[in-house]
Symmetry: C2
């Protein structure tokens, strides 16, 4: 059991003063980064428990960081969160997570809950395209709580973001489908008030135009990132008189639904219809008919988001800088779209 | 930006004392209803924000509930969380989630973070078998914060839990393998200081004994619930002189690793070796070689956990009751173990 470890025990072990230990644990800027990290590591090794609540009331810091995602049960968001954790835990922060299920009222509720929980920052992938008109959200912007968007963002003055180049990801996937000989490429889109879906749509459209193919707006349908929605939307496309010969989906989940529906119609993939998704969820690789998709480096995205947060939280007194980090996507070509044998 | 409005600003505007403002905002009965309403209206007009933390400290309710899981990127835990949310959101609660990655220091850190965030209860699936010896955890038990275990539990006096009958799930899976003609069934176990893994081991063992087969302890290996660990452990089994003809894994992830390793050894599934996992993760169904597994009704488990929490939080003044809810598992038979064709 042993008695409770105090800052005096840590000071004794490291042969420094208790005041230095206290300052280091409280991120006082007078302490060198090296000392701070040594103190935090030693405190952890000795199982020192700070009275975080007392600390929070005093310093205004809780060392909790809130992360808001549309859903946790996608490898993409889970991997981003892992990246965030990997970057923040060694700095003494804890990560608490909320999911919105793409519901506006939950998104706002989550923001309020995290603010009530006194988080030091909010890292979020937005669900609600009209977020900036909400009072709670305006309120958040007025506070000095760092807010960073990742993946699903809105361009809001003063808010940093980490995203991938969705336009390029979509362009590359569409170009690949064209290279396979596809001429009528449909696009399963999503709420284009969200930038990621708008940019995927624009990348898809540009690839079609650049290749001299006819752009047919009737082949673009907005749907939700769910398997069942993918099936329903694909049914509409397959029932067309002049049905598409390829589907580029802005989501792996709708791509999976598309594949199920195409099979149910007795059509062959990729011979009759090629399919490509977006996000490189692990199931796209493990499927019997593996699915072409666009990788978004989610762990890297999480790490970078956390780094931007750390910069902001450590510079809160200075002029607020806004940072836009953009990662490059990578196309993963698999069976669902590989009509032509390469090699 | 503007500076933060305080009770002194409100007092000045209304020409009353700050103490009166404070009493009015905190529903002190000494204040007249007219004054109370005036103060609240003025506070709203001035965009005054009460310190919710201070408020939470006083009223003892934040309407935030903390959920701690080993990992969010498994369908099993994500589904439990969905069940919890479905039950709690309509009651006005918000759910905030932490993951431990099976690390003891993160588990303790998460408990502290959630307590600092003033949650009204903690629902958790434990990672650390020695949890009850930890000071922070003892501290939690002493507080009046409802704590409920789900799935991974320890028997701790006064702590309710919702689990499935792991013994029966493992017994049924093992019996199925025996029915397929398997005689040397290995078991990929996990930390048996955790009850779920102990009970799966006991169910497996009992089925072997009940069928008059020889129980060989050398065929039981403890490993971690990860694909790569499953591969490593299976390699040990396949290199045995008298290798097993079936593997029952306490995790779908290690079962997947086992399948990869068996294939890498040029052996056939199920002809040479049958494989069964546990948890019914979606990939077990979608795999080219679908994997036999045990379903644990995770959404139901989450809903029941939330219900137990609601009972406790609404009865906190009464004598503390302890509830143990046990669900019945269901065996899902798939290709990885189906040697004999059933019609």
């Amino acid at each position: 059991m042993g008695k409770k470890i105090t800052i005096y025990d840590i000071a004794k072990k490291l042969d420094i003063t208790a005041a230095t230990v206290s300052r280091a644990l409280n991120n006082n800027t007078k302490i060198s980064e090296a000392t701070r990290e040594l103190v935090i590591r030693t405190a952890k090794e000795m199982n020192y428990e700070q009275n975080k609540l007392a600390q929070a009331l005093k310093s205004g810091k809780s060392y909790n960081v809130g992360v808001i995602v549309p859903r946790i049960d996608s490898n993409f968001f889970a991997s981003i969160i892992r990246g965030i954790e990997e970057e923040l835990y060694p700095k003494g922060y804890h990560v608490i997570i909320c999911q919105t299920h793409d519901q506006e009222y939950l998104e706002i509720g989550n923001i309020n809950s995290l603010l009530n929980a006194q988080v030091d920052g909010i890292l979020m992938s937005i669900s609600n395209a009209n977020l900036e008109n909400n009072e709670s959200f305006k309120n958040l912007l007025k506070k000095n709580v760092p807010l960073i968007f990742f993946d699903r963002k809105k361009d809001i003055k003063g808010v940093s973001s980490v995203t991938i180049d969705d336009f390029k990801g979509a362009y590359d996937a569409t170009q690949h489908l064209i290279n396979q000989g596809c001429k009528r490429i449909a696009h399963l889109s999503n709420d284009r008030k969200l930038l990621i879906f708008k940019n995927r749509y624009l990348g898809y459209k540009q690839a079609i135009i650049d290749n001299g193919l006819e752009f047919d707006e009737s082949l673009v349908i907005e749907t939700q990132s769910k398997v069942l929605e993918g099936r329903k939307t694909t049914k509409i496309l397959l029932d067309m008189e002049n049905r598409p010969d390829a589907i580029f989906s802005s989501s792996d989940f709708t791509a999976l639904g598309a594949i199920e529906e195409i099979k149910a119609h007795g059509l062959r993939i990729p011979e009759d219809i090629c399919v490509a998704g977006f996000a490189n969820e692990p199931f796209t690789k493990f499927m019997e008919l593996s699915i072409t998709s666009v990788d978004q480096s989610p762990i890297e995205m999480g790490r970078l988001t956390a780094q931007v947060f750390l910069e902001e939280v450590n510079n809160s007194k200075k002029i607020k800088s806004e940072k836009q980090v953009v990662l490059t996507p990578e196309l993963m070509i698999r069976k669902s779209s590989q009509k032509l044998k390469i090699d």
